[in-house]
Amino acid sequence: MIDKVINVKDISKVFNPFPLRKKERGPGLWVANLVRLRRIKENEIVALREVDLSVSRGEIFAIIGPNGAGKTTLIKILSGLLYPTKGSGTVAGLDIIHDHEELKSIISFVSASFWMGLEWQFTAYENILQYATMLGVPEDTAKKRIREYGEFFHIDYFDKKVPALSAGMRQIISVIRGLVVDRPILYLDEPFVSLDLEKRMALSKIVKALASKGKTILISSHEFTDLDVFHPRSLMLYKGKTIGYGFAEELLPEKGIIPYSLRLSEFPADLESVLFKSGVIVCKVPKELIVLDRVFNVRLLLKSGRVNDLISEILKRKIKILDIKKESISLKDAYLYKVNNEILD
């Protein structure tokens, strides 16, 4: 039997922010805010609309979507930091609204914005240790874990104070701060932001290792390439709505779509629309078009059995095909297909 750790149903979140007007201070602001205590419809921001989600124990699950899609809002709801406006859910059997006090003892949350919570007068090491002890990790255990993660991520700046750290360094310190706590459920909200390639790969390795030990990991990002290494099930959000749910290959609406990467001597602007109109490719925009040393690297989503049509169309235009390779469907393929063919159409 599959052990579902996270289960949410019909989650919606509507924010009703107070507009802060710069001119209002003191008594003017008190009166204005008292008047605004009632809900004002026009201020409302719908961050999530009827989202369903279920994640199994030991699973790496991805929440993907562009900026403002509702990824962070969803994770905060699953952490008990925000209450949903509508809907219900449980995390490890605990109700996300009523049991938020118990919930916080089983989750660890790393956010891209948490580096702002680092104490600037402290060293990187002191920051992690302070947080770990605050969360009840015994000091000796915390020190051991900090040393281990420091070695793993090749951190040689533990003794530096926060202002001396770059954005990427602060981010990895925030990540280690979340990992040191060692809880059964780990939420990673945009963890790859500002990280260099080496740190991204190291973080991916850690995430896989933790999942293999049975930890449930929810990871959000708008950088899909970082997530493909996990081949995760995912929830695809767009303006708060679910536009896809499942593995990358399940997210495409029809079967028999195969991504191909090609290296071409040129890529005329009209080629793509011709291929799309004739039904060879299923997406209107090139998946990736990178020009490097006058070579056009293109990734296209083809309908099954139409490779020969693609090749003949290219050759007809006297374009050299330097390489053609069949690929597996990535999250990015699925996302771009959804957004360009279903949402923006």
Partner: protein, 290 residues
Amino acid sequence: MKYLINQVRSVIAFSKREYIIWTSYKVNIVTWILDVFINSTLFFMLSLLMGKNTNIAPYGSNYVSFVVLGLSAYYISYTNLGDPYDRVARIYWNGTMDLYLLSPLSLITPIIGIMYRSVLDDYPRVLLAFLFGWLFFGAHFTFYQPVTIILVVILLGISTFGIGMISASSFFLLNLKVGTEPIKFIFQDIIIALAAGYFYPISILPYSLQILSLTLPHTYALDALRRLMVPGANVTVPVLPLQKVLNIRPISLDLIMLTVMSFLFIYLGFFLYIKGIEKARRNGTLTRWQ
């Protein structure tokens, strides 16, 4: 029990952090000492000027002692009443509210822990006020009932902290994140400044302000402290309107009122603050960066 120990450990950890932060601003320490010295001297100069003609009976006859106690209550009140809002604001603007709420700490623990900064910053002023008053300006004090004195100080601390928490709750309840906060402004800057009787006995105030002063813990704390600590003070003559109406010993009445206010304000403060956090969880205004 384990939960309580963890809260205390966290308060100590926060305090250590605040100490490190505080001492990292070395120039600030020098300016702070200068500030305490100049402010205290200024108050004592004024008290010396006015003191000779001031009738402070039944609180003895030493006006400097009378003012030292007023200043001490002012410092304690200033920290406990004004600090919770400022600390909540700091947690909010620094983006650490999420981190604290995800920790096993109670909602109040981080605020108390971070207030250690104020303990460093403001409470030594009380000791300095006593020291300056005694060394340079002829203040004398009696300590006949030390337990009652300590109890009054603790109750004053708790009740003003309660008002401080009511003030802090407005940060989320009324979404007052910029400008002046109304509860602190109304209590600290208007009612307390006018009617607390830091520098004069409240019996010289118009009757309406005397009645207003009955809503303040300061009134009862100062009445008790002055009766107990100013040499020659009378412990039986009623001064406050309530003492004149009720047939209870003035100091006993002061203690009863301080106890009632401590429970009332602390309960209200925590209740409203928790409601404020709940509201922020619903509205999504817990952190600056949502």
